[in-house]
């Protein structure tokens, strides 16, 4: 059981670091997907440990939500890219004081 959870933690951390440090919006998105998949892994591991299917059902929910979120997010990124010609996260910083 433990190796799966450790793996999940490692992948989650990689995803967090990627969100915090990468400049390209698409890469940030991919890292978000990484975090989601890491939590999926943890859910399935704990489901196997408990012997019921609750965790696996939850993992399904997470996948559906991730898919929907990707649709919306990619649409936003494409719109920004069309008007600003840049996919850098740092460039979209107008909402400040």
């Amino acid at each position: 059981m433990t190796p799966y959870v450790v793996l999940s933690a490692i992948v989650f951390s990689i995803g967090v670091v990627g969100v915090l440090t990468r400049r390209n919006a698409l890469v940030v998105f991919m890292c978000v997907e990484l975090m989601l998949n890491a939590s999926n892994l943890a859910l399935v591991a704990f489901a196997k440990q408990n012997g019921n299917l609750d965790g696996q059902i939850a993992a399904f929910f997470v996948m559906v939500v991730a898919a929907a979120e990707v649709v919306v997010g990619l649409a936003i990124i494409m719109t920004i890219f069309r008007t600003r010609r840049s996919a850098s996260v740092d460039d979209a910083s107008l909402l400040k004081y």
Partner: protein
């Protein structure tokens, strides 16, 4: 001081019902009140049509009141001396809790005499004002205010309880303010009006607290109930009531320490000075004390304080009168001093009350006479009040001179005139009880002789010091006829004492005095007083009459003269003790409000704004920093959960 003899109680106010012609007593107040309402409220609505005839209405109504008062007085005389107190219930003013206050009128010998004085002298002054205020554009208002004053003063003396008296008390204070400041465009007049009202207010604290104490002690403010319950009240309460009433009387009657407003009040037109600040309003304090005899008779310590205040004031006013060159201010100082005599009489207890009232009446005659005479002189001298610009007026204005002389002889106590009888009686009663007070009263009579002779000499005798081009002439008969009536009263007013009439007339109200013999025979006392007055007159003759009177007031004079000119530094004392600290207190409170209270409110807002401007730097627009803060927050939540679960 004088204590009630064993078994003697102050008379109880026990009025019967007002019937017959006495039931018209409400009319006496209603007529001038109607005049005031018509002239002040109704006339502007009539769009100026009353401006030409308003003064005639205003002058006629007090005359009718006087006739009604006269008829009622004769009816009262017709009754036996035991049934001369009547009351009339007009309406219930208010009823709250256990306090039931009605607007009741009490007509008895004391109020009868006051009614005659107020309406009689008041009518003469109204008639005089027709001539004096002839060229004033706001004449209608003047008569409206005069009528308001007469109505309020009548309400004061006719009320059967202290609350109605207070209503009249405040009413005359208001009328005084309106009339002193009648010439509104003069800043000095406006300031004098404010000063009079504010100093009066200090005295009113005494009356307000007194009314509260009456309610607490007796459950009512009616004279009849209180006078019946007075013998059983504690002496401490009675002394407190006496002192509070004395404070009120000091304010209204310009006694030390509340005397500073009277000389400034001379800014008003001369008929106002004659009516309000000589004959009637300033005597309201004396009325209050005599009417409250059932309080003072049981509070000997309060009476001692009254005597002290009175003696101080009678000398204070006399000293001020010696150095004033303004004829009206000299007469005002004289008024202060004479009211001191009346208060002295009132403070001497049952033996003194009738003589205090007697002196009040004679003073009303001769002081109103002299003020109206001064107005006549001013009328001829183009409204100049400085006596240093007068001189030799006895030839230019003979009628004014003769009538003024009657008042002069009365006030100095020339034998036979009214003032001689009234002042000597007060001195006699004073000597009987305390030789020092009596001696000081005699000294005051001497000083009175001095300054009144100085006034007469500077105005009517000495050399001609008129301004160039001035031709003084006698005043019109609408002004001189009232002067003649008042002069006759000044000369003959002493008849009220014939056969001890006034003492017997007032004794149902003030009580029967225990017969104490004066230390010297009455004739000897009168002789001594006449001699002292003669010394005063002679001093004035040598210092003022025989020398040349300078046209400008000399500056290098003795300290006493400078002090008297500065009214014995009364205004400076008030400034130092009250006005200065009061101003500083208000300044401190304003600063505390502006910087303290407002500071806290605005400071709080500023602080929050400051914190906000620091915190908003976190909104830097960078998504990655936002993500970092989300991570940190999530971390905090996890740690908190771990901590809680472990604990």
């Amino acid at each position: 001081m004088f204590v009630l003899a064993e078994g003697v109680t102050a008379p109880v106010v026990h009025p019967g019902s007002a019937d017959g012609v006495l039931s018209l007593v409400w009319l006496v107040i209603a007529l001038p009140a109607l005049g005031a309402a018509v002239l002040l409220v109704g006339a502007p609505l009539a769009k100026g049509r009353l401006d030409r005839s308003g003064h005639l209405i205003g002058a006629a109504l007090p005359v009718v009141s006087f006739l009604v008062s006269l008829v009622m007085f004769f009816s009262l005389l017709g009754r036996g001396s035991g049934s001369r107190q009547v009351s009339q219930h007009l309406f219930t003013w208010f009823e709250v809790g256990g306090l039931h206050v009605g607007f009741d009128l009490l007509y008895d010998p004391l109020s009868a005499l006051f009614l005659l004085l107020i309406t009689g002298v008041g009518s003469l002054i109204h008639i005089y004002s027709i001539g004096y205020m002839e060229h004033d554009a706001r004449r209608r208002r003047f008569f409206g205010y005069l009528n308001l004053f007469v109505a309020a003063m009548l309400a004061l003396v006719l009320s059967a309880n202290y609350l109605g008296l207070f209503l009249g008390w405040e009413g005359v204070g208001l009328a005084s303010y309106l009339l002193i400041g009648f010439w509104q465009y003069k800043p000095s007049a406006a300031a004098a009006a404010k000063k009079a009202f504010i100093v009066n207010r200090v005295g009113d604290i005494g009356l307000s607290l007194g009314i509260g104490l009456f309610f607490v002690t007796f459950g009512t403010t009616d004279f009849s109930t209180i006078s019946a319950a007075a013998p059983r009240a504690s002496e401490g309460t009675m002394t407190a009531l006496g002192l509070l009433l004395l404070l009120a009387a000091c304010g209204k009657s310009a006694q030390v320490p509340l005397q500073s407003w009277l000389l400034d009040a001379m800014e008003g037109p001369t008929p106002v000075s004659a009516l309000i600040h000589a004959a009637t309003m300033v005597t309201a304090g004396v009325y209050l004390i005599v009417r409250s005899n059932f309080i003072f008779d049981y509070a000997p310590h309060a009476r001692t304080v009254v005597v002290i205040v009175a003696t101080v004031t009678l000398l204070y006013g006399a000293i001020i009168g010696c150095a004033k060159d303004d004829i009206k201010k000299a007469l005002a100082g004289s008024t202060m001093s004479q009211i001191g005599y009346m208060m002295l009489g009132a403070g001497l207890g049952i033996a003194g009350y009738p003589f205090a009232i007697f002196h009040l009446l004679t003073h009303g005659f001769f002081k109103a006479n002299m003020f109206l005479g001064a107005g006549s002189v001013m009328h001829g001298m183009d409204d100049d009040v400085d006596m240093r610009h007068y001189g030799t007026l006895r030839k230019a204005m003979p009628v004014t001179f003769i009538t003024f002389a009657m008042g002069y002889l009365a006030i100095i106590g020339f034998p036979g005139f009214s003032g001689f009888w009234s002042k000597d009686r007060i001195i006699e009663v004073a000597l009987t009880q305390n030789w020092l007070v009596g001696a000081l009263a005699m000294v005051g009579a001497g000083i009175t002789g001095f300054y009144m002779t100085r006034l007469m000499l500077m105005t009517f005798f000495t050399e001609n010091r008129w301004k160039d081009g001035l031709h003084p002439h006698e005043s019109p008969s609408v002004m001189t006829v009232p002067l003649m009536v008042l002069a006759a009263l000044s000369a003959l007013g002493g008849l009220m004492l014939a056969g001890n009439w006034i003492v017997d007339f007032l004794s149902p109200v003030t009580g029967d005095p225990a017969h104490e013999n004066p230390p010297l025979p009455s004739l000897v006392i009168s002789l001594i007083v006449v001699l002292i007055v003669g010394v005063g007159v002679a001093t004035a003759w040598f210092l003022v009459g025989k020398r040349d009177v300078p046209r400008e007031a000399p500056q290098d004079v003795s300290f006493a003269t400078r002090a008297a000119r500065a009214e014995l530094y009364g205004n400076e004392i008030n400034d130092g003790l009250v006005v200065g600290p009061g101003g500083r207190l208000v300044g401190g409170l304003t600063t505390m409000d502006r910087h303290g209270v407002d500071g806290v409110v605005e400071g709080g807002a500023l602080a929050i704004g400051g914190v906000g401007s620091v915190l908003r730097r976190a909104q830097n627009g960078f998504v990655r920093s936002y993500a970092l803060s989300v991570l940190l927050g999530a971390l905090l939540v996890v740690l908190a959960l771990l901590a809680v679960n472990a604990a």
